[in-house]
């Protein structure tokens, strides 16, 4: 069965028709060509497919597209405006938080959700927020440093 649905992806309203079993990840990557969202396991275990669904980080491989009907999705492509990068993206670059980069889109979106919830996180909080995002290259240290560099210190 094919169902109609609506999604607001990176501020753009999109209407599409999808079969019931299609995941949000498949819709983003295959139907919409937003390949910045990665698939590392397809089973909710690596976080490479992390996107924000109504500002909450979710594993797009675990969510059926239809479950996202009417919601807002932010993918990595929606983070930078033209050549202006988001502060988190800049911080990842500056701190060398990127190696192969396959985990990076998911990491950055998880970091965004964290910093919106908790603008001044401790190192522990940063690490905790990344538990669902697996990185095999960096050992996490520089990712944690990048995120901590954005913590709003001293103002409260």
């Amino acid at each position: 069965m094919i169902y109609p649905m609506k999604l607001t992806v990176n501020d753009e309203l999109i209407e599409l028709e999808v079969p019931a079993h299609r995941t949000l990840l498949e819709v983003l990557r295959n139907d919409l060509g937003l390949k910045g969202t990665k698939e590392g396991c397809g089973a909710g275990e690596c976080g490479a497919c992390t996107v924000l669904l109504d500002d909450e980080p979710v594993n797009a491989c675990l969510i059926l597209a239809l479950q996202a009907d009417g919601k807002r999705v932010t993918t990595i492509e929606g983070l930078s405006k033209g050549s202006n990068l988001h502060a988190i993206q800049e911080a990842f670059i500056r701190h060398g938080a990127i190696q192969c980069g396959f985990c990076t889109p998911g990491m950055i979106l998880s970091a965004k959700a964290l910093l919106e919830r908790t603008p001044n996180p401790t190192e522990k909080e940063v690490r905790r927020s990344l538990v669902g995002n697996f990185c095999r290259c960096t050992g996490y240290q520089k990712i944690v440093e990048a995120i901590l560099s954005l913590a709003k210190r001293g103002d409260g």
Binding site: E45, L85, C100, G101, Y140
Partner: protein
């Protein structure tokens, strides 16, 4: 610090802006017009004869474009070392995951559905999973080779029996290093396109583009020129991404359909048919004098290659003797056997055998230090090879920062104080390692690196190399080296994706060789381009090329800054004067390494040898057996650090993989089947499981590395398992000789310990 504008500066990866925006197209993102999706039918038996394959139903499924079996392949045995593979199983399957048939369809779902419709009739054969059992008389033969032995390694020096008699302490133990998975985040993937002339373009995640091409030409029965390998960005490898049937099945499907075909492993397939680490049984006996001089080493290693040899015999050989060039042993007896088993073929994983042996040796050395009542750090310093020494196997140590690494790590970790304040459950442990930057023994044919630097009219510098950036930042290092030579900024440099139609032949990225070999190759190419630019500029300034310098984007007469032109101006004039020909610099670098003698192994296998010392501090919860790593110090001799931030990143990543291996990672294989082929059950360290890692770079300028640099990839992990094991010993007085050291093992050992008291 040298007067460098680029070398020694921490710079982000040159493609980091693309990566953070999700713009980087990884292999598994590639989409070509008309592309089909391929899937592989894999054996669910560890050892079975194929009686019959019926794919008629699968063929009839709507959307299926091709179903292929061994019949559709050349069935030529091939392999990078031992020719014991075929693209799809001929007659027999030899491990759970072995490739039996492949399907191409309009989408992945259809391809998967088609796999379910293929009927294969098997006759199960007795199977064998443990290498020791596989060597017994009467064990089922996997490739018809006597006792399933792939190869044997032997190396004896001095008089071992007498030497042990004269040692003041001798320690022997039986170690086991288990099978672990590289767990790069992007599974193995490729796109293969067959053009109408029959030429195949492989878009591959491969560490060894040029070597892969040679192996695949043989497998497909094609001349080399019919194969082109292109390497787009890919998501990690750590040794695993070399030759694989996934790519070749893609080629057969593309030949059949005349369409591009994309193949991507799902995670389970990647576990069961990937390329995990060679598990090894290591019997090690080491003797030392009363003064702590290491004298004799006897080792016997049995390694399981799984169902194909791949590189396992070279890995076992490396485990057998690489550490002999870390310390000054005088007497050696070495025996290594590599054995087929009905399990997933095992192969390269960061450390290449040296990681396995370093666990055993460095654990042993701590026991020797204890027996001698000697500081383990001192034992290492006393015996470690120094700059200018030649090891027992002929390795010429052009630079060694080992002693400084130990000192740095000891100082920074608070070693002395923490060793003294004994508290049960709390411990600190140290381990060292050596390694290579490139391995002469890997290819009999040649050793070297090459580069091409192409500068077009607009002044953009395009760098070609034949290695492979698997995500570690190699491209950026090459860009820095070229920018340094040409005196321009990084924004002027682009590093081309490896394409065997355009790039130099390169051995590829393994053996920690990228920086030294690729780096020297592109450096030579940049120098050649620079010579040409100086000739052009010399004419303009009416001087001689040797009077010119390239700095800060300008070419000027030395000492006369007012006589200068911008880099791009000189390029433009040069290109136009030459009828439009770009400035092309080509260069190569051939080190004076020496291929080891086949019998004595005497040679000099690498131009530059990196060293390291790592220290782990742990807390062992004696109630639960859980180990928390509290602090980690890693001091690495990397030669001149080209990009310190990238090197730290390598160290941090390597250490975390090492901690994972030490404490939790394990492929659970039962009757040849991987029982935990996913990220939930294959447990790896997450961001909460690891301590702050303090990295220190020790930078002796190496005589052979580019600007004095050496490699870092593998040494980052080599000593980590032993450092953790030694810290656990310091904490609870129990020596663990089998990896991983899980809470269950610790609890059991604590109980036994109590009983024996």
């Amino acid at each position: 610090m040298g007067n460098y504008s680029m070398i020694g500066h921490s710079v982000p990866q040159i493609d980091a802006r693309d990566k953070v925006r999700g713009m980087t197209e990884f292999v598994s993102d590639l989409q070509l017009p008309g592309m089909l999706y391929g899937k592989i039918l894999r054996s669910s038996y560890p050892h079975a004869r194929i009686l019959h394959i019926d794919s008629s139903k699968a063929r009839r499924l709507k959307g299926v474009k091709a179903v292929v079996t061994a019949e559709d392949t050349p069935r030529v045995p091939f392999g990078p070392r031992t020719e014991d593979w075929t693209i799809l199983a001929v007659d027999k399957v030899r491990f759970v995951g072995d490739e039996v048939a492949a399907v191409a369809a309009v989408d992945e779902e259809t391809a998967e559905e088609a796999l379910d419709l293929i009927r294969v009739e098997y006759e199960e054969l007795p199977a064998v999973f443990d290498p020791i059992e596989a060597m017994q008389p009467g064990a089922p033969l996997i490739h018809g080779k006597e006792r399933n032995i792939v190869s044997e390694f032997q190396l004896n020096k001095g008089d071992i029996e007498r030497a042990f008699q004269e040692c003041a302490v001798v320690y022997s133990a039986h170690y086991f290093t288990n099978q672990v998975y590289q767990a790069y985040l992007e599974p193995m993937a490729c796109v293969v396109q067959c053009d109408p002339s029959g030429r195949l373009t492989f878009y591959l995640a491969t560490q060894i583009p040029s070597m892969t091409r040679i192996t695949y030409a043989k497998a497909l029965g094609l001349p080399l020129e019919k194969i082109r390998v292109v390497v787009p960005p890919y998501g990690g490898a750590f040794g695993a991404k070399m030759e694989t049937n996934l790519h070749l099945a893609g080629a057969i499907l593309s030949q059949k359909t005349q369409k591009p075909v994309r193949m991507v492993n799902n995670r389970e397939e990647d576990f069961m048919a990937g390329n995990p680490r060679v598990p090894m049984y290591i019997d090690l006996k080491v003797g030392a004098s009363q003064q702590g001089k290491l004298i004799a080493k006897e080792v016997k290693i049995i390694g399981a290659s799984g169902a194909r040899a791949v590189y396992s015999m070279a890995i076992v050989a490396t485990a057998c003797y690489r550490v002999d060039s870390l310390y000054r042993f005088e007497h050696l007896r070495t025996e290594g056997v590599t054995v087929y088993t009905n399990t997933v073929p095992t192969s390269c994983f960061r450390g290449f055998g040296n990681a396995q042996m370093t666990f055993a040796l460095e654990s042993t050395l701590d026991m020797i230090a204890e027996a001698l009542k000697m500081d383990p750090a001192e034992l290492r310093i006393k015996n470690g090879l120094k700059t200018g020494e030649v090891s027992i196997h002929g390795w010429q140590i052009g630079s060694s920062g080992l002693e400084e690494c130990v000192q740095k790590a000891v100082e920074a970790s608070g070693w002395k104080r923490k060793r003294e304040e004994k508290r049960f459950g709390h411990g600190i442990g140290l381990a060292c390692c050596n390694h290579v930057s490139g391995n002469r023994a890997f290819s009999r044919e040649f050793d070297g690196g090459a580069g091409i630097v192409r500068i077009g009219r607009e002044g953009k510098v395009l760098v070609y190399h034949g290695e492979s950036d698997m995500g570690q930042g190699q491209k950026t290092v090459f860009a820095q080296i070229v920018a340094e030579e040409l005196g321009v900024g990084l924004d002027r440099i682009e590093v081309a994706q490896v394409d065997t139609d355009l790039s130099p032949f390169g051995m590829g990225s393994f053996a920690t060789r990228g920086t030294v070999f690729g780096g020297n190759g592109v450096k030579a190419a940049a120098r050649h381009a620079k010579e040409q630019l100086c000739e052009i500029a010399a004419e303009l300034f009416e001087t001689v090329p040797s009077q010119l310098e390239l700095r800060e984007g300008k070419i000027s007469v030395i000492g006369e800054p007012e006589r200068s032109l911008s880099f791009e101006k000189v390029v433009e004039i040069g290109v136009l004067r030459r009828g439009g020909a770009p400035i092309v610099g080509t260069g190569f670098w051939v080190p004076d390494t020496v291929l080891p003698d086949p019998i004595t192994k005497y040679g000099n296998i690498s131009p530059a040898y990196p060293f390291a010392c790592q220290i782990a501090e742990v807390e062992v919860d004696t109630e639960t057996g859980h180990v928390t790593v509290l602090q980690y110090t890693a001091a690495h001799d990397v030669g001149k650090a080209v990009n310190p931030m990238a090197i730290e990143g390598q160290i941090e990543g390597g250490v975390v993989q090492g901690i994972g291996w030490a404490l939790m990672e394990n492929m659970v294989v039962e009757k040849g089947k991987v029982l935990n082929p996913d990220f939930r059950d294959y447990v790896m360290p997450g961001p909460l499981d690891i301590p702050p890692i303090h990295s220190f770079l020790v930078e002796p300028v190496d005589p052979n590395g580019p600007f004095g640099a050496k490699g870092i990839g593998e040494p980052a992990l080599n000593p980590s398992t032993a450092a953790v094991a030694n810290a656990i010993y310091d904490a609870i007085g129990i020596r663990f000789t089998e990896l991983p050291i899980t809470p269950e093992k610790i609890l059991r050992a604590l109980k036994d310990h109590q009983k024996n008291k």
